[in-house]
């Protein structure tokens, strides 16, 4: 656009300048013409003036010459003489000026020169002659002052004066003619000048101003258009900017929303998320972590692990972080972790390196979450798996051992019969039979403990079961001073497997009997409790024995943990197993008088009943 405009404008500018130059030239020409005209008119005027002065001076000299001639008085004569001399001088000067103007712009016309120098009108020479004659009169001695004086005659001669005057007139006329010619020339010139000026103006107007105006108009149009375009663009840009601003606002809102979302996600994750810089200082931590360490975020940022954990743990975490940063790898592990309140939990940890925009590692991000439940479930599963395997094996062994036990039993019995009357030997056999009984019972308990427990649930009266259990251990009570005090009021029936529950009570009562010295007082206290909205029955069995040692309290329900010299070590483990199979719980602790066992059984175990009734176990006839 600009180049094409330039392309158009340059010849136009040139034209315009050229037109101006032409006008200037014309003005100069006009000025010169005017100047010449003025000079000419001045010259003509001067010539006319000089001519008339010369004529006056001529007549004056003639008159003065006459006066001198005819003067009588000497004084007058002298006066006239001086005057005549002055007049002659002026005449000469005027003539000279006429002949040689002071600053002639133009030479005298040829006709004037002719008048001056050529016959019949030799003005110059005639004038010189006349001046000579007059001067002769003026400077001649007084005696020559008379009418007959030759010079005087010459001066007096009218022809002389006429000739000179005619010459002068001719000169003036010649000048005037020349002037007229010049005037005519000037008039022509003026006409040409005005014509050419007008033509030039017209041409200028047509070829320069018109295109220029057109140009200007188109340029103005283009300018207007450009302006409009510009305004439109400005409007567009403004709209664009507004749109962008709106978009920006939208994206800012989206960003805020995303930020909020991210914060809420990160803060409500059931995981701890934190970031540390290369020196191990916290740069970020989510709510969960803050809750875990029980400190506000402000008290966490900038601190290190050493501020929250024991030194050994902090060192380990720092080493892990360093390894992650050095090796640029992701670290994942399940490890034990002590919370600031001292609890030991299992956590799964995931550490990864953090990078800045240039990709260099500037710190670490750690995510960890509590997997204690999972870990414990895993351990339980492993334990259960192991138990199941052991159980299978034990069940097999127990089965296979039955024939052997039967053999021992049969032989011992036969021997006993054959040795009837021989008490010492029969005593040995009785020991043998007791050993066989114990082995039999151990195998049975092992099998019972290791195989999945099936419950046959029905509404049971706990009092009856307890009484049955007490009766069942009658043989153990033989010769002992033992009492069972039941302190329970009316109890609702509980859904349970009465035979298995009896075994529970039996085992506990047996334990109490074994632990206590006579007189044995066992108190049973039952009452209803509400545990987490679940109606349950708590059975407390207290003895008056020595109580439980801390180790016993901790391990009493473990299989094969026994302090008795004669026990399988499975009794309490089976108790726990049965109670838990009922959806209940059992705990052992020390009461004021001795050991206390607390059994909690849910009162409405419908779900348990549904699952358990399907597995009606076929009772075995073993005692």
């Amino acid at each position: 656009m600009s180049t094409s405009s330039e392309h158009v404008t340059r010849p136009l500018t040139f034209k315009y300048v050229f037109a101006l130059a032409l006008l200037a030239a014309l003005a100069i020409v006009n000025f010169v013409i005017l100047r010449i005209a003025i000079l000419d008119s001045q010259q003509v005027h001067a010539i006319v003036q000089h001519g008339s002065r010369e004529r006056v001076l001529l007549l004056r000299t003639a008159m003065l010459a006459e006066r001198l001639i005819f003067s009588t008085d000497n004084a007058e004569r002298d006066h006239v003489r001086r005057e005549l001399a002055g007049t002659i001088e002026r005449l000469e000067r005027t003539h000279l000026e006429l002949m040689l103007p002071e600053a002639p712009r133009r030479p005298a016309p040829a006709s004037v020169k002719a008048i001056y120098e050529h016959a019949p009108l030799l003005l110059d020479s005639e004038m010189r002659n006349y001046v000579l004659h007059v001067r002769s009169i003026a400077e001649g001695p007084d005696e020559d002052l008379h009418a007959a004086n030759v010079h005087f005659n010459y001066v007096r001669n009218p022809e002389t004066i006429d000739k000179i005057v005619a010459g002068l007139d001719a000169v003036v006329a010649a000048y005037e003619r020349a002037s007229a010619a010049t005037t005519t020339q000037l008039r022509l010139l003026a006409t040409w000048s005005i014509t050419s000026t007008l033509v030039l103006l017209v041409l200028n107007g047509w070829f320069v101003f018109r295109p220029m105006v057109y140009r200007v108009r188109t340029d103005m149009g283009a300018l207007n258009e450009l302006n409009a375009t510009l305004e439109r663009r400005v409007a567009e840009r403004t709209a664009d900017a507004e749109r962008r601003a709106e978009l920006l606002a939208q994206s800012e809102a989206a960003l805020r929303e995303s930020e909020t979302l991210y914060r809420s996600l990160v803060d409500h994750l059931p995981m701890c998320v934190m970031r540390k810089d290369a020196e191990g200082r916290f740069t970020f931590a989510n709510d969960r972590f803050c809750q875990l360490v029980q400190k506000p975020l402000a008290a966490i940022l900038g601190r290190t692990d050493a501020d929250f954990y024991p030194q050994a743990m902090a060192d380990k975490y720092r080493d892990d972080d360093r390894r992650v940063m050095q090796k640029d790898c992701v670290f994942q592990d399940v490890e034990q972790h002590q919370t600031p309140d001292g609890r030991w939990i299992f956590v799964e940890v995931l550490k990864s390196p953090l990078r800045d925009a240039s990709g260099s590692i500037i710190g670490t991000q750690t995510v960890f979450w509590d997997v204690t439940d999972r870990k414990e479930a895993e351990q339980r599963a492993i334990h259960a798996e192991r138990l199941a395997a052991v159980g299978q094996m034990v069940a097999g062994v127990a089965h296979e051992s039955r024939n052997a036990l039967q053999q021992i039993q049969a032989c011992a019995q036969l021997l006993d019969w054959q040795l009837a009357g021989d008490s010492p030997k029969q005593e040995l056999i009785a020991d043998l039979q007791r050993a066989q009984d114990r082995l039999h019972r151990l195998f049975d308990e092992l099998r019972g403990f290791s195989s999945p427990r099936h419950l046959e649930l029905r509404p049971c009266n706990l009092c009856t079961i307890m009484t049955d259990a007490w009766s069942a251990i009658e043989s153990q009570r033989a010769g002992r001073d033992a009492d069972l005090c039941e302190l329970h009021a009316d109890l609702p029936p509980v859904m349970a497997d009465p035979f298995q529950l009896e075994q529970v009570f039996r085992n506990i009562l047996e334990n109490a009997l074994a632990a206590c010295d006579d007189p044995v007082r066992i108190e049973v206290d039952c009452h209803e409790v509400a545990n987490d909205d679940v109606q349950a029955l708590e059975i407390l069995i207290r003895d008056n024995g020595p109580g439980l040692t801390p180790e016993q309290q901790q391990r009493i329900f473990e299989p094969f943990f026994t302090t008795k010299t004669r026990g399988t070590g499975l009794g309490m483990a089976i108790v726990k197993q049965i109670v838990e199979a009922h959806g209940g719980a059992i705990a052992a602790r020390n009461a004021a008088t001795g050991a206390e066992f607390s059994i909690t059984l849910p009162l409405h175990s419908q779900s348990l009943a549904e699952t358990a009734t399907g597995h009606a176990s076929l009772g075995e006839s073993h005692a």
Binding site: A410, C411, Q413, E620, S621
Partner: protein, 198 residues
């Protein structure tokens, strides 16, 4: 002292047979024979017709359950199974037969004595019930026959139902025969007449 039972035992273990012999003796029973396997047991039962059988399950040649089945086909003798094994499959096979007790080894006199008593009581109960059932079945059968004879009489003599029954009773008393006998005769006669008619 309860009644003396004649018992046959079966066990592949000689010591176990000795023990049972001695033990049963002491309980006042008599062991009439001892088998070493199922096949022998079936044979001995046919021979001695004991009151009770006590047998092991796992034995060579034929196991206790199969033997019990075989015995039951010839004669109703109660069986007590004694086994070291008590898996579901064995129990399923044993139940439903006339196995009256299932003892798991090792057993003692104290296990055996009540098991025998209970088994014999149950068996007698079963037997009584079985006889009662048979009698009832017979009575029902007789009733049907009499009804049929009554029907024939009513058809042939145009008697009413009570009259037809009274006539049957009269015939029976005059011939001093059972009502059912008379009824059978009538039916036989009717069938003979029907054959001729046909």
């Amino acid at each position: 002292m309860p009644e003396t039972l004649r018992i046959t035992v079966a066990d592949d273990e000689p010591r176990m047979r000795d023990y049972l012999w001695e033990s049963l003796q002491r309980m006042g029973h008599r062991m009439v024979s001892a088998a070493r396997n199922g096949r022998e047991l079936v044979e001995q039962c046919r021979q001695h017709e004991p009151d009770l059988v006590i047998c092991d399950i796992k034995m060579p040649d034929m196991d206790g359950i199969d033997a019990a089945e075989a015995i039951y086909r010839t004669r109703a003798i109660p069986v007590i199974l004694v086994s070291a094994f008590h898996d579901d499959e064995l129990i399923r096979r044993a139940s439903g037969k006339h196995v009256l007790a299932y003892l798991v080894k090792p057993i003692k006199d104290t296990d055996l004595a009540p098991a025998i008593t209970v088994a014999m009581d149950r068996f007698r109960e079963f037997q009584t019930l079985r006889h009662e059932a048979a009698d009832l079945r017979q009575a029902l059968e007789d009733r049907k026959t009499i009804e049929r004879a009554k029907g024939i009489l009513m058809k042939r003599t145009a008697l009413s139902e009570p009259d037809a029954f009274r006539r049957l009773q009269k015939v029976a008393s005059s011939k001093s025969q059972k009502l059912i006998e008379i009824a059978r005769m009538i039916i036989t006669a009717e069938e003979a007449i029907d054959d001729r008619d046909a």
